[in-house]
Symmetry: none
DNA sequence: AATGAATGAGGGTTCATTCAT
DNA sequence: CATGAATGAACCCTCATTCAT
């Protein structure tokens, strides 16, 4: 059930690119300021000041302020976020001999941890989606495809064993992610204390299991 | 269980104020554009153009672009949203002879309907919260107060009858609103088709009941 | 030596014109605000507010903000100020049997009193002159004419009696008004306490006499 | 009696600051236009046009139009003007073996020359004082301090020698500056020909001596 | 006559972006 | 590569002025 822990977005950026130190600090400054004040309320002068460089330097590598936003979000949106979700599904389907409940707990915990580690990117991502929902279209359609082609059969395995409610895969995924988002978004958005991972996992999983696992299987799991 | 249906925010605005027709159209245009493009990406010139008036007119009544945002959101934040929650609680506490499940369904349905009727305000509200979470502080602290003082006893009544899981009131509320938000926010934000109220209510309530109502009571309710 | 005391400008305006009460209060408000904040920093809205009328009313009688300024200043510049100066010269030339020193004291005192009574108009006048000196041209050329034609002979009378220094009339007038302005302008401009008339008169006259009255005549006057 | 001639304000600005050429021309243009049309009647676009740069450039160094005014006036108000007055007093106290009359002539001449060299700054300064007299408060209080602490004894030396009228120092200073202002302000404000320095000095000094120097000492000086 | 909503030109200011150094 | 002065379009807002009521 092991898979490489997803690195935080920023480190990923640093590794993958051949940016100079100055450019890296520009990227880091953008991340911080976009998350804190929003894209439109962050001036390139602000970025330069926080990055400790001249305004011109901001534009040397990233031709445009918008390109800077893309540089911050694109790996998140195009690479990391999908990967996270794919991993999530892999978690859920990985070890058929395990109970669904166990897998769910693992997968949920992993996702919460990941999201908490990338709260800033998430904040920016949410801000942008709220303003421009079409950003999501590409992402969701890809996910729908993945879910419909590959998850169906995985879930039906658990459903056959009576460990998973007899809904279609999309509704199950929608429910899980809905509850997850309902818990996490308020926390991400209100930048207060960053949520205790274990506690939240417990609360969410406990609740999800009520709705997703038929009573008999649940009893069995609990007496285990 | 009847109580006056909350009017949509915008109509409420129109009714309550003595704004001229032009000023009303300014407000309406702001609502549309803020929801569509976001506050910072909407210029006062855009608003004037859509409202069919001169730019100066925008500022005649609303001294500031920011005041315009407040004029759009304030009733939502200060009056209507809390009222919604109070109504919600009134629903839950009003008819003790009813099963919790019935009340929950009614309350959830009402709230979904209300939010769907004010999707634009919601969009703007969400955008602003994401950018400036401190906006929420006043609101949440007020709500916490209401919940802690008045909801506890209401819930304990149902809990005594075995119709409600034995959590503290805050966790129950958090769960309900979490699931609600998890369903609604994605829909509001992605301005696609506006969610079928009945269908969504069913799906949410069905799921919530699994987690909130002990199995025995649930069985009883279903055989009714 | 008596002549009707010059009324304050504002009362003069009221008397001479057939303005409605509202229009009079517009004029009064303009006077106050122009003097206090300057012409350009006073908006017609400010004027309307202080006058207790609608913005449109300000323009009903005075077609233009500039016309309002003219309405405030014109009587001062065209009628009253010249009249004051003519009176001043009349004072100086009125009673040949009197000593020049006595006349000077009376004339100076009268002018100080008048200017103190019209400090607001003076403030506005000074502000406008400073910005647009060409305003003065018409005024000064008229005064030069008056002085050269009528004052010369008056002064030469005193000069013949040895009571007045043997300068040409222009220089004498220039000196008197220079010293007067040097004392009064700073006080008018710095709106502090409005200068004690008697004390200031004494100080100015005493000093002027040193320079304008030959020593012998001065001694004689003092032993009187 | 020599002391370094005070440079004109503008050159001083150029020397002391590390402004780019464009910024210097912005400052120069502001000086010209503020003096010519007044602060409020000068738009930043006017300044840019005269300075030969874009409007944004005006704000690159001087964050605000008001800051531009301060940049023009501050050295005048805070450094140069006080220095001029201190120098003036130094002149008067510098050479006790000289007659007061000689010193006065030198000092007056120097001040007239200086003010004529900075007519534009003076015009702006006067305009601002007229609109906002509180600007002067700091300046005058500082000057009063200097005069009261250091000038008294200087003057009393001349007074002991019978070369200076027996007034308190403040009144003497007030008289001198009053007469100076009475002569100079009208000329500065009416931007006509810039006053012949020697002629004006003669006229002012001659007149001042009448009032400030007792007759005996005066006779002596004249027969010298 | 008086009103005040409406106007639109113009104001100061910000900002992403460019380019000579 | 990095700089930061320069740019000018666009922004929010003010204001004198008009006009239907």
């Amino acid at each position: 059930m092991d898979h490489t822990d997803v690195k935080t977005l920023f480190d990923a950026n640093i590794d993958n690119s051949s940016l100079s130190i100055k450019q890296q600090s520009v990227l880091k400054a953008s991340l911080i300021l976009f998350a804190e004040k929003g894209y439109e309320n962050t001036s390139t002068q602000d970025i330069a000041k926080l990055a400790g460089c001249a305004e011109g330097t901001v534009f040397k590598h990233f031709k445009t302020k918008d390109a800077l936003l893309k540089a911050v979000l694109d790996p998140f949106v195009n690479d990391i976020l999908p990967q996270v979700i794919v991993d999530f599904l892999k978690d859920l389907s990985g070890q058929p001999e395990e109970h669904f409940a166990v897998l769910l707990r693992y997968a949920v915990r992993d996702r919460i941890k990941y999201i908490m580690e990338n709260r800033q990117e998430m904040r920016i991502f949410i801000q942008e989606i709220v303003k421009n929902p079409s950003m999501l279209e590409g992402l969701t359609s890809r996910l729908v495809l993945v879910i419909e082609t590959s998850v169906n059969q995985v879930f039906s395995c658990y459903q056959a064993r009576g460990e998973l409610v007899d809904w279609d895969a999309m509704r199950i995924i929608r429910t899980i992610s809905g509850v997850l988002l309902g818990y996490l978004i308020p926390n991400i958005v209100m930048s207060s204390k960053p949520l205790d991972v274990d506690e939240t996992t417990n609360e969410i999983v406990e609740f999800l299991l009520q709705g997703l696992v038929p009573a008999e299987a649940r009893d069995e799991a609990e007496t285990r």
